[in-house]
Structure formats: C-alpha cells, structure tokens
C-alpha cells in the first residue's frame, strides 16, 4: 500500500512538473496582461525540439536551445500583441497551430533525418531513425532521498523537477516582494498608470511573455526527455491548454500553482494506474475527460462574484496598451 502510494505521489510530482513549469511562465505572462493561447504550440515545439536537439547535441545544449526557441516563439506573440496591438487570442491560437504543424513536420520520419543532419552532420545513420532519446538522469538528493515515502516522492527526480519547485518559490518571492514584481503586477492591472510612473510597460510585457515562452518550451522538453522520452506526434495532447486552466485555478499565484499541478498530475497518474489494474479499461476516455470537465466547472465557479472578489483577475488581461489611445 505504501509502495503504491509512494509511486502514485512520485508520479504526480513528475507528471505535475509539466503543468507546473508551463503554468509558472503563464502566470507571469498573464500577470503582465498577456494571455498566451500559444502555450500548447510552444510546449509541443519544446518537446519536439528537445527530441531532435538531444540526439544532435545531448541534454544540456538541447535544454538551452529549447529555451531559446521558446523565447523566440513567444517573441512573435509579444511583437504582435504588445507592439502591434493585435488580438492575443488569435495570435496565440495561430502560434499553437504553428507549433503543432511545425513539430509534426520537423519530426516526421521523412524529414527528421535531414533536420538532424543539418543540426549535426556527424550523426550516425542509426541516430537518424530512432524514435527515442536518452532520459534526463535522476539526481537523488544524498541523505534525503532515502527517507521512506518522502524521499522517493520529493528527492529522487531529475534536475527539471527540482528546478520547477525552486522556481515556484523564487517566482512567488519576485512577484510579491520585489520592485520588479510590483511593476509586473501593476502593468497587468493598470498599464497607463504604470507607464505614467516610468515603468516601461512594453518592456515588462515583453519580458513576462518571454519568461512564459521559455518555461512553456521547457515544460515540453521536460515532458519528452524528463518524463516519457519516446516521441509521439502531438504528445502534449492539450496539456498546454490544461496549464492555462491551471493558472486560473491557482489564481495567478506561483505557490498555489504547485498544488494545482500536483492535483492534475495526480489525476493523470491515477488514471494510468486504474487502467493497469483493469479499472476503467472499457472506457478510459471518460477518465481522460476529467481534467477538461474539472476546468469547465472551475471556470464556472470562479465566475461567481463572491469568489471573484477575493481573487483579483489581472484587470488588463488581454487588453493591448497604447499610450496615445488611452
């Protein structure tokens, strides 16, 4: 029983890290007023590129490059939504479609070889056709990892899991205790005011969007090399959208995002488990529907005035800001 619980909880942490990384970035973007519907596209690109880059260059370089690509993709959103004041929903959706199409294109067996050779001409023939890449190594924390239950759940993971947890606390601290965080929160609440006080609204929104893109791509990369390093086209399967919902559940708070991602990660893990022991095997679809149904219910609850009052949705979310059109 303890073993089962241990593996489910550890699984929830591992699965939840996908959601945590993605939603942390999105929290910053939304706090600055940018709704990034392109998250799913950025994540799938992150996953696909971590596959290609890892084969070509190994883990470390792959992670760095993936983060850069994530930032470049979100830069498209930033330019179009912040500087050109275009509709964020449409731009984000376009990014998602782009990510899905591009990732499928680049990793397709007929193209992948040529892409990989462009990345690294010295790759052996076999590297061009494999569907998987080496998984990120686990780094057990000495001492702590051996504690029963807690050890395997918290201290026996790869670097990205730890990073996500550390980032949650760091990003919470920056958001609520520092000058940069104050600027960030203000820009999403009232950009005109922040501008008048000398905060560079465009710069803050660009940076927040880039952070969102970097972490979104990292979430995708984690899903592949950190969680399930076997390439399946479209493997993010809507998790970027679930992360968007999670941001709302977490009420734009990095610490609450930890709980939310554990919950969603846990649901997914338990569903796998139930299938393994035969429960729900007849109709796994209904269990798979759960995150989406939960999200719709949560969104509905959040709309009630009494709930909303305590939360404080970033007031300028989704609204472009232009100084001379106030």
């Amino acid at each position: 029983m303890v073993e089962w619980l241990e593996s489910v909880l550890a699984g929830a942490v591992q699965m939840g890290t996908v959601y945590l990384l993605a939603s942390l970035g999105e929290i910053y973007a939304e706090r600055s007023g940018i709704l990034n519907l392109g998250l799913e596209g950025i994540m799938i690109m992150g996953a696909a590129l971590s596959f290609l880059f890892t084969i070509a260059y190994g883990h470390l370089t792959a992670l760095i490059l993936v983060v850069i690509v994530g930032m470049l993709l979100s830069l498209i959103l930033a330019v179009m939504a912040v500087s050109l004041r275009l509709n964020q929903v449409v731009v984000g959706l376009a990014l998602t479609l782009f990510g899905i199409g591009m990732s499928g294109f680049l990793t397709h067996p007929t193209i992948r070889g040529s892409v990989l050779l462009h990345l690294n001409p010295d790759l052996p023939e076999t590297a061009l056709i494999i569907q998987e890449a080496p998984k990120l190594p686990e780094i057990p924390i000495p001492g702590l990892a051996d504690i029963p239950l807690i050890g395997p759940v918290l201290f026996k993971h790869n670097i990205l899991v730890y990073l996500a947890l550390i980032l949650s606390f760091a990003m919470w601290f920056i958001l609520f205790k520092t000058r940069i965080g104050l600027s960030l929160r203000s820009v999403g609440e009232n950009p005109a005011m922040a501008d008048a006080l000398g905060v560079n609204v465009a710069l803050v929104r660009y940076l927040a969007t880039l952070v969102g893109g970097a972490l979104g791509a990292l979430a995708g990369a984690y899903l592949f090399i950190g969680f399930q390093p076997f390439w399946v086209e479209g493997m993010t399967a809507g998790r970027g959208f679930i992360a968007l919902a999670l941001v709302i559940l977490a009420t734009w708070n990095p610490l609450r995002a930890i709980l939310g991602s554990l919950l969603f990660g846990g649901v997914e893990v338990i569903q796998f488990r139930l299938q393994l022991i035969g429960l729900g095997a007849q109709a796994p679809q209904f269990v798979l529907m759960l995150p989406y149904i939960v999200t719709i219910v949560a969104l509905s609850l959040l709309s009630f005035e009494s709930v909303k009052k305590r939360i404080g949705v970033p007031a300028a979310l989704g609204i472009p800001y232009s100084r001379e059109e106030v």
Binding site: I180, L182, S186, E189, N190, G198, V199
Partner: protein, 513 residues
C-alpha cells in the same frame, strides 16, 4: 535678476488624426507660483500637460525645464526632471496598497522592497501636508479625496518641484476642495510650481497667481490673476459672450411621470450606493439632480432605466410599477435615456451613424416586420432625423467614431427623443451628464432641446455636476449626497451656498438656514 522659469514650453504643436490639439502653444511656469491653465473641455489643456509629462510626443516645439532644454520622451524622463502629474482619472491600482501605489516604478525602493521603512516615510510625508493616511490600506478602501492625496504624495515622494493637477476638484466636495487649496498654496510657498488645470473660473480666482487661457488648441492670454476677473476670463474661454439665459415657457408642472420611493441599490463595487432615495419628476418640469460625482447619480439613473437592479424600494413610471423590469420594457413605456459616458454606453463607435440612430428603434414597426429590418424606411427616417437634429455628418453611412462629441450627442438626442421608439413625445427623459465634454455650442443645443421637450410635456431628470447649468434650466433642484436626497428646492428660490453645503453632506446647517 531674472531666474529662469521652472518650465518653458515653446511653440508646441500636437496633431491627432483629424484634430489639431495644440497649435503653437507657449507656456511658462515660475518658481513658487500656482499657475491656472483654464479652458473648456477639448481646448487642449490636458494634451499640453501630457506633453510636458512625456505621455505624448509633440509634433514640434521645444521644452525647457529650469532653463535647460529637455527632451521628454516618457513620464520617466519627466519624473527625473522633477515633474509630477495628478490625472483627472486616478491612476491607482485598487487591489494594491497605498505604499505599493506610491513606490511603483521607484528605483530607490530597492530590489527587495523594505515595506516597513517605506510605510514610515510615506506617513511622515503625508502628515507634513496635514493628511492622515494608512499606508497599508488598499486603494479601493479609500475615498476620492484620499485617493487624490495618494496621487499627490506619489509626485511629492518623487521630489517633484513641478506639479500638474488635472481638474483636481471635479471629484471633491467643497470642503475637500478647500483643504486641497491649502496644500497647494503650501507647495507654492515651498518654492514648487503648481499647474492647475481647470475649467472653473472661481477656482482660478481663488487659488492661482497667474492664469493662462486656452481655446481650440491655442493660448489666448496669460495674465496675473489679480489683474483680471471672471467675466473677462469667461470671454477669453469661449471667444464670445456667454449666453446665460435659456428661454423657457412659464408652465405649471403636471402629474408625476416618475415616482421613486425609498430606493436602495448597490454600486458595481458591491457597496450600497443608493440608501433610500425619494424623488418625483412631473410633467412639464425639469428636475435637476445636483451633487458631486460618485454619490449615487449613475446608480439612480441606471435603476430607473432598468440597467441596474434595485435592492429595495420602487420605481413607478406613469403610474406603473417598473421596479427591476428590463431596460426594454421601461423604454417602451416612453422613457428616454441619455446615458453618461456616451462612447461607452450611448453609441457603438464602430457602427454607422444610421445604425446608432436606430440602435433601439430597429425592432419596432414600421422599421421592421417580424424578424426582418426594413432598411429603406430606416434610411429615409435617418435622413430626416439628421436634418431635424442638425447632426453634421458626411452621410448616414459613415462610422460614428468619425463624428465630433457634439454631433454624437445630437445623434443620441435624435434617437431618444424623436419618437421613433415609442411614437410621440417621451414621458420621462433621463439625462445623465448630457453636456459633459461638449463645447458651448453643443451644450446650448442639448439644454435647449431638453427645455423644448419639457415644454412639449415631458418630465426631465437632469443629472449634472455643473450646478450653474442645473440652475439655468431646471424648475426644481434636488441635491444628492452619499446615496440620499439631501433636499429639493425650487430653482428660483435656491441658495447656492446652501446647496453647496448639502452637496458636501453638511445637513445640520441647511436645516438651520
């Protein structure tokens, strides 16, 4: 010895699409003076100051601050030069604390903010101007007057020597206004320069040392305040003598068309905004509702027109109880509504003029049958309305946003009053701030139209923050304060001083008087 002025703006030109907002404007602010910038809405005062504050870039012209040429590209530059601005609409974040609002954007706050130290400093600064402020309070918990103090502290905390106040009194009670003036004078004594944007003559006379009058984007004159008088300033402002009289038939008010009984309603923020309002509007009369903005006026008109739910109490129109009925049912009873914030509520700027003229009437015969709109009839009627209400537009088919404010207000009058909705003269006209932001000509047109319909039999509820305007056209005046009616007077017998006190919520003295 001639010390260089704090600010010199030379030959400033600023164009917006379709408008020349500043036309070679030159303006000077000296050390230790309160300089009033006077002009009607749309005269270009705020644009000029937004340029000084770096919010807009001038198309041409030069700015000197303390004798040195300044290139102010953003508020950041302005703040560095010691310029602070308090906008008409507060730029505060309701969910943030006083301290967070004040220190936003300040490098001095450090990377990790030391809130304890900041709170102390802010408290001390506020006390030096006679203000008591809790630095940990959230903005939404503060009154309008306190919010303004936070705004000013925001500038002073940044060591501003040049302070721009944009229509600072529009949200204040007379008593709060006086307190503000004391603080402003103290700042001038400390050697700061204060620019005081206003369109109220009496304020210019009371608080300023010098006054610059602007009209249609140009500076008309700059004078020492003691060398001028209100009548002269008014003439500079409008460019022609103000017509203070509006012709009005002597009429005996008829039966009540609207009776409001013990009405309670919530504001958008979920606090009680109406606390037992009782009012009566009768046929053939204009009832003016005077009060400082934000005392329940908007909530009241919204409850009457069905846009807001009443918590308690009743609204009776023409003998029928319409409390909490839909806007459409109330409209169909013959209630015309001229809403506040025209561009938000009154028209859809991106639609054509004709669409906006028929924003309500499209659903009634003869303009539509069953599910289908008869555009031919609509177009014919639109042409007629454009002529009748003197709406200046190239055609009925241009986008409404290309019209001027005055013409948009004429469009709304045409839609609401011409009888295309219910047929005939409206029974009740609810006009909320109908002249706000309009020039003199358009203001006169609106007021004359209201009087005309009053003569034809409508009952009119006129909400305005301009007491003078209310007294000019109303038969009776009601004063609202904090969601309650403080008193109702015949306009001919009204005492401005007493109304002012009621507007400020001072009831005792009024009773005595």
């Amino acid at each position: 010895m001639s010390e260089s002025p704090l600010v010199l703006m030379k030959d400033i030109v600023k164009r917006f699409p379709g408008v020349l907002a500043n036309d070679h404007v030159t303006f000077e602010l000296r050390r230790g003076e309160v300089h009033a910038l006077l002009g009607e809405n749309g005269a270009g005062k705020t644009t000029l100051m937004n340029i000084l504050y770096g919010l807009y870039k001038p198309d041409s012209g030069e700015i000197y601050v303390k004798g040195r040429k300044a290139n102010i590209r953003s508020p950041r530059d302005a703040i560095r030069l010691g310029i602070g601005m308090v906008h008409q609409h507060f730029r505060l974040i309701p969910t943030h604390t006083v301290t967070e609002n004040i220190i936003l954007g300040l490098k001095e706050a450090g990377f990790v903010i030391n809130y304890k130290k900041m709170n102390e400093e802010i408290k001390r600064l506020a006390e030096s101007y006679g203000w008591k402020i809790n630095p940990d309070a959230r903005m939404w918990q503060l009154s309008a007057g306190e919010k303004q103090q936070v705004e000013i502290l925001k500038a002073l905390y940044r060591k501003a020597e040049i302070l721009i106040l944009d229509e600072p009194t529009s949200v204040l009670t007379p008593q709060e206004t006086r307190a503000l003036f004391r603080a402003v004078r103290r700042m001038a004594e400390e050697g700061k320069g204060v620019i005081f944007i206003t369109h109220k003559l009496e304020e210019v006379m009371e608080v300023s040392d010098r006054v610059t009058v602007m009209r249609k984007g140009r500076v008309v004159v700059t004078k020492n305040t003691r060398d001028t008088n209100p009548q002269e300033l008014a003439n500079y402002m409008v460019g022609r003598p103000v017509i203070f009289e509006i012709e009005k038939k002597e009429l005996q008010p008829g039966d009540p068309v609207a009776v409001i009984k013990d009405l309670y309603a919530m504001s958008d923020k979920g606090v009680l905004a109406l606390k037992g309002v009782n009012l009566e509007v009768r046929r053939n009369e204009i009832l003016g509702l005077a009060g400082v903005t934000g005392n329940g006026q908007v909530e009241l008109v919204e409850v009457i027109t069905g846009l807001r739910k009443a918590v308690k109490g009743r609204v009776i129109i023409d003998g029928k109880d319409v409390t909490n009925r839909s806007p459409r049912e109330i409209m169909e009873l013959g209630v015309a509504y001229i809403p506040p914030e025209t561009l938000r509520w009154g028209v859809v700027p991106s639609l054509r003029v004709v669409d906006n003229l028929f924003l309500k009437a499209y659903r009634y015969p003869p303009f539509s049958k069953s599910a289908v709109i008869d555009w031919k009839k609509v177009y014919e009627k639109a042409e007629e309305l454009i002529r009748e209400f003197e709406i200046i537009t190239p055609s009925p088919f241009v986008k409404t946003r290309t019209l001027s404010g005055g013409n948009i207000q004429r469009l709304i009058l045409a839609r609401e009053l011409s009888g295309i909705i219910g047929g005939g003269v409206p029974k009740l006209i609810v006009a909320a701030y109908p002249t706000k932001g309009l020039d003199v000509g358009a203001t006169e047109f609106v007021l004359k139209t209201l009087v005309k319909y009053r003569d034809m039999g409508s009952g009119v509820l006129l909400v305005s923050e301009d007491l003078e305007e209310i007294l000019r056209v109303s038969d009776r005046v009601a004063v609202i304060f904090d969601g309650k009616i403080m008193g109702v007077f015949k306009s001919s017998e009204a005492d401005i001083e007493e109304i002012g006190l009621l507007m400020a919520g001072v009831k005792e003295k009024a009773k005595a008087g």
